[in-house]
């Protein structure tokens, strides 16, 4: 059955072909691109509303389309579509969404649309440019939709190609190095992930499939593992992959995901890729691509391998803490505004790992919320870096001064973006970071050593320091001669900023609808998480 979920990836795919095929003028290409991305945003918004408020869900069909035949708790996968494919081998087409994937799908659709708007004046090979954006959107949405390992792997890898070309063709002076480094790093992560998919497939999937769906055949269906793990942990007493077997698989998946996330020590591709990428590329790279890593950790590492997660939580926590501290200090030393933002992303993704490692309900919810919030804020920040480069021709912090006088609108957005990113109460990322810390402090794993939570807290202070220090240098003082005729934000840039800033406040003041959706996911999928 193919329905709206499949349309979510088919729409941008068709769009990319059409834009690439017949968008011969810049005007045609950008209008078609905006049309398709708005259509996609429409679908995604419908889905988001349906998950926030059940009244909207009627037209989407019955939730949890395929429930396992044996009784017991099940993963609240709200909507699923399933088509047989290489059935002899147990490869099928399965897509589905729940409270984890819908916010990310919506974020993808939103940021793609805004990135297209932001690049309204793109002159260099526009049809390839906008076509690649839609193709990237297709792959990203596909990753969040996929519930069969082979579909997941296909979309996961497809993300690389448009990004490679976006950095390679429209990138900065050092783009060759950055594009190849990005490609190789994330591809290595991917092939390691493939190995663990193979072993899940051959060694464990048949018995899991037997326990959940009653057929003793190898399968790549992720729902079998999700259901199996859930019933295993919720005391329904079914046999599942043993702990000893879960640990290597967990480690291999974690490797792929922390390369993507990225976390120290595999983060080095990120600053290079960001500095060279065009603004829209950076927005999607930081806004959504990194979220694939976080998504994978929740969907696979926590969702399918809970026993290993309970034993290896410390690895997540340590990696997260290291990323937060390291990135914060590195940010203090940056002179390139875009590089600074790139490193700050590494730090903010550390929150995700720490929240996941806390293994508490609030910590995990905070981490998932952080994925969403960081996507919005970092999009603003990278757009700012693009605007300032467009307007003044440089991103070097020492060469920028007194922009508050020359570019007042820009300065306002910059202040909001920076404050949101450092977690000012009332703005969106405050909630997620706060929840992560509460979760980490209340983590049952830490028990007697709650003082250790002070270590990641240091990063909050340093983060505030580098943002304020940067703001002081860029915004205040007298503008030098060469900046005097810098223009302020362009009209289409204002649209993008307005939407994102509105979201920062909206989510900051009314986080509950989003948290409710995430809560439905965590309470259904992780009944085994610790209190608080």
């Amino acid at each position: 059955m193919v329905g709206i979920l499949s349309l979510l990836w088919i729409t941008p795919f068709v769009g990319s072909l059409i834009v690439w095929g017949i968008g011969t003028t810049q005007r045609a290409a950008k209008w078609m691109a905006i049309g398709f991305s708005l259509a996609e945003l429409g679908f995604a918004s419908w889905l988001l509303l349906a998950l926030i408020n059940g009244n909207w869900a009627g037209a989407l069909g019955t939730p949890t389309a395929s429930q396992p035949p044996t009784p017991g708790k099940f993963v609240p996968l709200y909507y699923m579509e399933r088509v047989g494919w290489w059935t002899q081998f147990g490869f099928n087409y399965v897509v589905g969404v729940d409270g984890l994937s819908v916010p990310l799908i919506w974020l993808t659709a939103l940021l793609t649309t805004l990135a297209v708007v932001f690049h309204w004046d793109e002159e260099v090979r526009p049809r390839a440019f906008f076509g690649l954006f839609l193709f990237l959107e297709m792959a990203l949405v596909g990753v969040f939709l996929a519930l069969d390992f082979i579909i997941f792997a296909i979309f996961w890898e497809l993300v690389l190609l448009p990004m490679f070309f976006l950095i390679g063709i429209w990138g900065g002076p050092n783009r060759r190095y950055a594009a190849l480094k990005f490609l190789i790093f994330t591809h290595v992560g991917f092939v390691i992930m493939l190995l663990s998919i193979f072993s899940l497939y051959w060694f464990y999937s048949a018995s899991v499939n037997e326990a959940v769906y009653g057929t003793n055949a190898p399968t790549l269906d992720m729902t079998a593992f999700l259901h199996g793990a859930l019933r295993h942990t919720s005391g329904a007493g079914i046999a599942y992959i043993t702990l000893g077997a879960q640990i290597p698989v967990f480690a291999a998946f974690l490797f792929a995901f922390i390369v993507k996330l990225p976390s120290v020590p595999f983060h080095t591709w990120l600053p290079d890729a960001h500095v060279e990428a065009p603004t829209g590329g950076s927005v999607l790279l930081a806004g959504v691509l990194l979220k694939m890593g976080g998504y994978g950790i929740f969907r696979i590492n926590l969702g399918m391998l809970p026993d290993a997660a309970r034993n290896l939580w410390w690895a997540l926590a340590i990696l997260g803490t290291a990323s937060m501290i390291y990135a914060a200090f590195v940010c203090l030393a940056q002179v390139d505004l875009k590089r600074l933002i790139a490193y700050s992303s590494v730090g903010h993704m550390g929150f995700v790992l720490l929240g996941a490692g806390s293994l508490t309900v609030i910590g995990v919810q905070g981490a998932i919320f952080q994925l969403f919030n960081h996507g919005i804020i970092t999009a603003i920040l990278f757009m700012l870096a693009g605007s300032v480069k467009h307007s003044t021709g440089t991103r070097d912090i020492p060469r920028l001064q007194g922009l508050a006088r020359v570019m007042p609108q820009f300065s306002l957005i910059l202040a909001i973006g920076f404050f949101a990113s450092l977690g000012l109460p009332g703005l969106n990322s405050f909630w997620s970071e706060f929840m992560v810390f509460v979760g980490a402090y209340g983590s049952p794993n830490l028990d007697m050593n709650r003082r250790l939570v002070l270590i990641p807290l240091i990063s909050i202070v340093v983060t505030a320091a580098y943002y304020l220090y940067t703001m002081q240098r860029i915004l205040f003082g007298d503008p030098p001669e060469d900046l005097a005729k810098a223009h302020d934000l362009l009209p289409w840039e204002r649209i993008s900023y307005a939407v994102l800033v509105a979201l920062v406040f909206l989510v900051g003041f009314f986080p509950l609808p989003f948290l409710g959706m995430i809560n439905a996911y965590t309470s259904g999928s992780f009944p085994w998480l610790g209190g608080i």
Partner: protein, 521 residues
């Protein structure tokens, strides 16, 4: 059963004779070769089970073939589903080469009759190799294809590079044939039979009626020598490291259409011979060769990929990459062998062996399509005077949009990027190695080597894409038109590579049956 081969032989002879009469009309020769090959391929597909003749109520040949193609006793040949699959692959490659030749071989070049005749005879030799169930028949068929290709490499006899390549190829080919023959004669001396058929009373060194190693320790030393000779001899044909040195020179020197034939078809003849000889004939003595082949597979992948990295010539880079690809295909042999020899319950062993062989066959097919496609793109660029140096590929995306796009797809598929064909065949192949790890944990190394090598190979493939799309063309370079026939051939290969995910869904049942029949389950 042998109708496709007969048609091809007739076409070849006709083409050779008509070559004298129609010296001024090469397009007529081309049409004859094309029609003959097309007809033969159609019959092969129909025998595989397409069933067009059944639908028309004609019974010209058995469809699907089942066991009716088994002539092990009379002709030492068995045209089973496995053989048909490989025969189809060889014919498809020939078809691509013939189509493209129209655009690549200039009309005024001499000896076009012989060109097509030799090519078709080479294909007939390949097809017989796939069906052979006797070491000597296999050897003869093998030589038929080799001798034709030696001459084809030197088709442009005024071209110094081509004649050098031909001489090199001939010497290596002759030596390796000698080595194979010596290995075969040793085997014959030990076992008093040269049959590698699946009928129980003829199987060499397998099961109670034959000779088993355990009962006769005295045959071990000559057997090891024979194994070494067989592996080395076939290794030369497949260009397995360390017997690969000739391949880049020959591939680079040959006319590019012939390179396609060599890399996509001729190499796979060696593969199919290895499948037959080792997985059927010598299965019971695998203690001696299983580790050797596994190590060779890993070495071939690694060396091929590492040496491909610094290459500046696209043809040489593709040559090294095809060495690496052969290393991936080799994985199927130790996987099948270790499963069949295990003490695990029959079902499980059979599953692993079949899955591994299906992976191997799938990769052979996809490999043939993507490698043929990549070299055909090179042929297309050469026909417009673009050198095969990477620098010359700058901005190809604008000068020849279709060829550059196809090349990108072929290269990404070679690197195993989804959703292209190479991803799926590697997925099945490597995961079968993980599966075999339940019999012997060292097999995990095969899978790890495979995926890491794929990651490594992406670097040099991506570099070509970089040149084609990201760098701007040289000053004054303009959009070029590519000969239609070459574009058509590339298009066919492109369709196969891009649609594997869908097409294979229909073929999987056939492949699994072929593998089952091959092992005699």
């Amino acid at each position: 059963m042998f109708l496709p081969e007969t048609i091809l032989v007739v076409t070849a002879l006709a083409s050779a004779v008509l070559g004298f009469a129609w010296r001024k009309r090469p397009e007529a020769l081309w049409a004859v070769a094309l029609v003959g090959t097309g007809l033969a391929s159609f019959i092969t597909i129909d025998m595989m089970g397409l069933g067009v003749t059944n639908a028309l109520h004609l019974s010209l040949w058995p469809s699907p073939i089942g066991t009716r193609g088994n002539f092990t006793l009379e002709l030492k040949m068995n045209v089973d589903a496995f053989a048909l699959f490989f025969q189809l692959m060889f014919q498809l490659v020939a078809l691509l080469v013939i189509i493209a030749s129209r655009g690549f071989i200039r009309a005024e070049e001499p000896h076009q009759g012989e060109y097509y005749a030799l090519m078709l005879l080479a294909v007939v030799g390949m097809m017989f190799t796939a069906a052979a169930t006797d070491l000597f028949v296999l050897f003869l068929a093998f030589e038929t294809s080799s001798l034709s290709t030696f001459a084809l490499v030197a088709y442009r006899k005024r071209d110094r590079q081509a004649t050098e390549a031909s001489a090199k190829f001939f010497i290596i080919g002759a030596v390796s044939s000698g080595i194979v023959l010596f290995g075969i004669s040793l085997i014959y001396g030990i076992a008093h039979t040269s049959s590698i058929g699946t009928t129980t009373d003829l199987i060499l060194l397998r099961g109670p009626p034959g000779l088993t190693l355990a009962g006769h320790p005295e045959i071990e030393p000559p057997l090891i020598i024979a194994l070494v000779f067989l592996i080395a001899g076939f290794g030369f044909k497949v260009a397995v490291v360390p017997f690969h040195m000739w391949a880049p020179d020959v591939y680079q020197g040959s006319p590019t259409t012939i390179t396609v034939l060599l890399t996509a078809a001729s190499k796979n003849v060696g593969i199919v011979a290895l499948f037959r000889v080792f997985l059927i004939g010598l299965l019971n003595v695998q203690v001696d060769w299983i580790a050797a082949l596994a190590i060779l597979a890993i070495a071939t992948q690694t060396v091929g990929n590492i040496v491909a990295i610094p290459q500046r010539s696209v043809k040489r880079m593709l040559a090294y990459s095809s060495i690496a690809q052969a290393g991936y295909i080799l994985i199927a042999i130790p996987v099948g062998a270790v499963a069949l020899q295990s003490t695990a319950p029959g079902d499980r062993a059979a599953t692993v062996a079949i899955y591994g062989l299906v992976g191997g066959m799938l990769h052979v097919f996809v490999y043939a399509a993507m490698k043929a496609g990549a070299f055909l793109v090179v042929a297309g660029t050469e026909s417009r005077g673009i050198a095969d140096d990477m620098e010359a590929y700058k901005g190809l995306g604008r000068r020849m949009p279709f060829l550059a796009f196809s090349m990108t797809v072929f290269l990404l598929s070679l690197a195993g990027i989804p959703p292209l064909g190479g991803f799926f065949s590697k997925f099945v192949l490597f995961s079968s190695a993980v599966n075999a790890a339940s019999f012997n944990q060292w097999f995990l190394a095969l899978a790890i080597s495979g995926v890491l090598n794929s990651a490594l190979s992406l670097y040099y493939y991506a570099r070509v894409i970089w040149y084609m799309y990201i760098l701007d063309p040289e000053e004054g370079a303009q959009k070029e038109t590519v000969p239609r026939p070459i574009e058509a051939a590339v298009f066919i290969a492109l369709a196969i590579v891009m649609l594997t995910a869908v097409l294979a869904a229909f073929f999987l049942g056939f492949l699994a049956d072929a593998a089952r029949g091959f092992f005699g389950f």
